[in-house]
């Protein structure tokens, strides 16, 4: 785009008979050069303005009203929705649940993904088969997976409790407690996303130059030493990408907790909201209690929360990138 902009005035200035009115053809072609690029990028911005920007701003507007669905004249209440929200125990409970499920899912997920990638990077018989295989959970329907998992974790007739009992262990009421339910939901997330992340890490692993590994072998490094001192540091940018994408996904988690206790009233996220996430609470406020103003306030706070966490991630990223640059591997 910049090149076009540079060329355009030059070609116009270089034309003979500059003072005379330029011919229509010339003007058209000049407009073409000047405005076409905007036209080409316009579809994205127009669509974004309609489905992205407008809802975002309109949500901010709605959040300033006591707006029940179907209200003919909602009343303006300023920031009351926000003050109510910050004093709402159920909201903070849902923030806590979201963060807890996020940590329980993303942490193990990335460790396992890296280990899986390392295994897939070895000489294996039927390599492609294995690689496609770990992506299968990602290809399966999320709703179907969630329903199957919530059956497996059924407190009285679920398979997992039967197995636990068979092993002589205590049964666990996966839906009643906070930690068991978070663990079960995190497992659904991990089941779906570990393979996907492993493939991204695998791609990065294959981009690591062979010479580095060979040099390390010459220096007498064993397999584990090579993994820790050569592979892992070079995976850093990829790992940061994986962490950020799973942060964004993790903070918006919805389907898994909603279907975990599939029953009328499933937007509660358990009998005492023990696994209600922020998005689930937002959905409940908007489409079950029909309190659009309050739901919009939740949406905005969630938006800001994600920005803050993304910012923290960004700073950590820069920090890590600098230290890895300081070490200078090459």
């Amino acid at each position: 785009m910049t090149t076009i902009e540079k060329i355009a005035p030059e070609s116009a200035a270089g034309r003979p008979g500059k003072s005379a009115r330029p011919a229509l053809r010339d003007r058209l072609s000049r407009w073409d050069v000047k405005y076409s690029p905007y036209l080409y990028v316009a579809p994205f911005f127009i669509v974004f303005a309609i489905v992205g920007m407008f809802p975002l701003l309109y949500t901010a507007y709605v959040s300033l009203f006591h707006w029940k669905i179907g209200d003919d004249d909602p009343s303006f209440i300023g920031l009351d929705n926000y003050t109510a929200l910050f004093a709402d125990d159920q909201f903070w409970n849902s923030v806590l649940n979201t963060l807890s499920i996020f940590v329980l899912s993303s942490g193990p997920q990335i460790v396992i993904a890296v280990l899986l990638a390392a295994m897939l990077n070895m000489r294996l018989r039927g390599r492609t088969g294995w690689r496609v295989g770990i992506l299968l959970p990602y290809a399966a329907s999320l709703v179907a997976l969630s329903i199957i998992f919530s059956n497996l974790f059924g407190p009285q007739f679920g398979l997992i409790n039967n197995v636990l009992e068979g092993l002589g262990l205590d049964r666990v009421d996966w839906q009643a407690g906070r930690l068991p339910s978070h663990f079960a939901i995190a497992l659904m997330v991990n089941w779906r996303w570990t393979g996907y992340n492993a493939l991204i890490v695998l791609a990065a692993m294959q981009a690591i130059p062979k010479e580095l590994q060979e040099a390390a072998i010459v220096d007498g490094a064993g397999a584990i030493r090579r993994f820790v001192s050569v592979t892992l540091p070079l995976l850093r940018p990829t790992l940061i990408f994986v962490v950020i994408t799973s942060t964004i996904g993790g903070l918006q988690i919805f389907t898994e907790p909603k279907l975990f206790d599939a029953q009328p009233g499933s937007n509660n996220g358990g009998s005492t909201n023990q696994f209600q996430t922020v998005t689930l609470y937002l959905y409940q406020s908007a489409f079950e209690n029909f309190n659009l103003g309050y739901a919009s306030a939740i949406a905005w706070v969630l938006f800001l929360l994600i920005i803050v966490i993304a910012l923290v991630n960004f700073l950590v990223t820069r920090r890590l990138a600098q230290t890895s640059g300081g070490k200078k591997w090459l």
């Binding site: 000047k34 179907g70 059924g154 007739f157 009643a176 029953q263 009328p264 009233g265 009998s271 005492t272």
Partner: protein, 434 residues
């Protein structure tokens, strides 16, 4: 900068041209049906959920009224259906000419009743109060007495029980013992306590919420009074029902199975409980969940604690969005006439709420083999007459029952103390009615 603005102007100009063009197209289309005179084709959309049994009735009506074309809109998910209904009322467009409405969602609709036509004004004369059971007809009226829905089916309550499990615990199941045992909620829970001890710790009923809902529905005043004030803290009936149910949970009477979950289906198969609150439509659910291996073990009795009750059933409404309210009301009246509801009953099983349909020999002679050949039609027709005048359901009533009372009772079953759960219940209800 100037040039950019020009570009914007061009874009705006183009957009406006497009908008004007589409607007013209839109009004052209809209003009045609609005101007439909007598003899011209009128298209009516009918939105229903789950099974109303109307599929074969539409062609029949079209044959009787050659100028009417019916387009059914069916969906399986009742929760989603009602959510969409409310969203479309808010949006001001998108509703069908006839919208079915489930009894449990009436409370959410009644405070928006101005968005529906008063059927007593625009409907045919024969669709009047005499057609339905009085409580069913009255529940379709809003606070100002406008009739917003014609009743379709209903769910009168009876009690289902396992003959074999009761026999194994040496509890007699002859008619006299049953009616003594299921006379009041106190006697019902007392029998449960006995059953738990005699059966070696087996559960008496499936879930606390199922009983609590039936108990609250029998009260003269529900969660909200007629001025839409929350009564939970001041209504002794609710607290007393709560105490009875949670007390029964503490004694081990509940199988702790939330209704309509895979766990509860598994519970039916595993014979996890001996009795169950049974509206008419529940017989099909029990049969499907318990499966052929339990055929003949379940029975149903007209003895129901605290008299009668109703759970479920629907209405047909005509939203003011409809372009043909008169034709729509006529169709709705025809569909909810006793003859048609009997056909729907035979096709899909929704239990009719019309006086004549209830008295008809077809319904009276209906038997249910799974429940030991009981005359189910006759039994539930009798149960329906025991229902008192409808309890007023204020806005948010359905939400409180489903999303506050249910989870709070579930938490008691999961080990929370009854007092803590009561606080959760009160706080949650206040939040919904705020």
């Amino acid at each position: 900068m100037r040039q950019i603005r020009k570009g914007v102007l061009i874009a705006v100009g183009l957009a406006m041209t497009a908008a004007v063009t589409t607007a013209c197209g839109g009004s052209d289309n809209a003009a045609t049906p609005a101007a439909a005179g007598p003899g011209e084709k009128v298209e009516l959309t009918v939105a229903t959920f789950n099974q109303f049994g109307y599929e074969d009735l539409y062609p029949e009506y079209e044959a009787l009224h050659p100028n009417i074309k019916i387009t059914p809109r069916k969906t399986g998910d009742s929760g989603q259906y009602h959510q969409e209904l409310i969203t479309k009322i808010a949006a001001g467009s998108g509703l069908a000419d006839i919208q079915a409405l489930e009894e449990g969602h009436l409370s959410d609709i009644m405070d928006k009743s101005s968005k529906f036509n008063d059927l007593s004004k625009i409907g045919p004369a024969d669709a009047n109060a005499d057609r339905w059971l009085p409580w069913k007809y009255d529940a379709g009226k809003d606070k100002n007495g406008r009739l917003i829905g014609y009743g379709t089916d209903m769910g009168p309550l009876a009690m289902c029980y396992r003959t074999d499990l009761l026999a194994a615990a040496n509890i007699p199941t002859d008619a006299a013992s049953l009616s003594a045992m299921f006379a009041t909620w106190d006697s019902y829970f007392a029998a449960g306590e006995q059953y738990v001890s005699k059966s070696g710790g087996k559960a008496w009923f499936d879930s606390a919420a199922q009983n609590f809902n039936a108990m609250v529905n029998q009260l003269p005043v529900g969660y909200l009074d007629t001025s839409d004030k929350l009564t939970i803290e001041s209504n002794p009936g609710i607290k007393s029902a709560w105490d009875k149910v949670t007390n029964a949970v503490a004694k081990g009477e509940s199988a702790k199975l939330t209704a309509f979950t895979p766990e509860s289906t598994a519970g039916f198969k595993a014979s996890a409980f001996a009795t169950k609150v049974c509206p008419s439509w529940m017989l099909g659910t029990v049969k499907e969940a318990a499966g052929p291996e339990n055929a003949g073990k379940w029975a149903v009795t007209a003895a129901f604690p605290g008299g009668g009750g109703n759970w479920g059933g629907s209405y047909l409404t005509v939203p003011t969005q409809s372009k043909h309210p008169k034709e729509a009301a006529e169709l709705a009246a025809w569909l909810t006439a006793p003859e048609q509801q009997l056909k729907a009953f035979k096709a899909q099983g929704p239990f009719p709420s019309q006086v004549k349909a209830l008295a008809s020999p077809e319904l009276q002679s209906e038997t249910n083999d799974y429940f030991g050949g009981v005359h189910a039609g006759q039994l539930f027709a009798e149960q329906a007459k025991k229902v008192n005048k409808p309890q007023y359901k204020g806005p948010g009533d359905g939400q409180i029952q489903q999303n506050v009372a249910g989870p709070a009772l579930k938490s008691v079953e999961q080990g929370t103390s009854a007092a803590d759960a009561w606080n959760q219940f009160v706080a949650g209800a206040k939040k919904i009615t705020k």
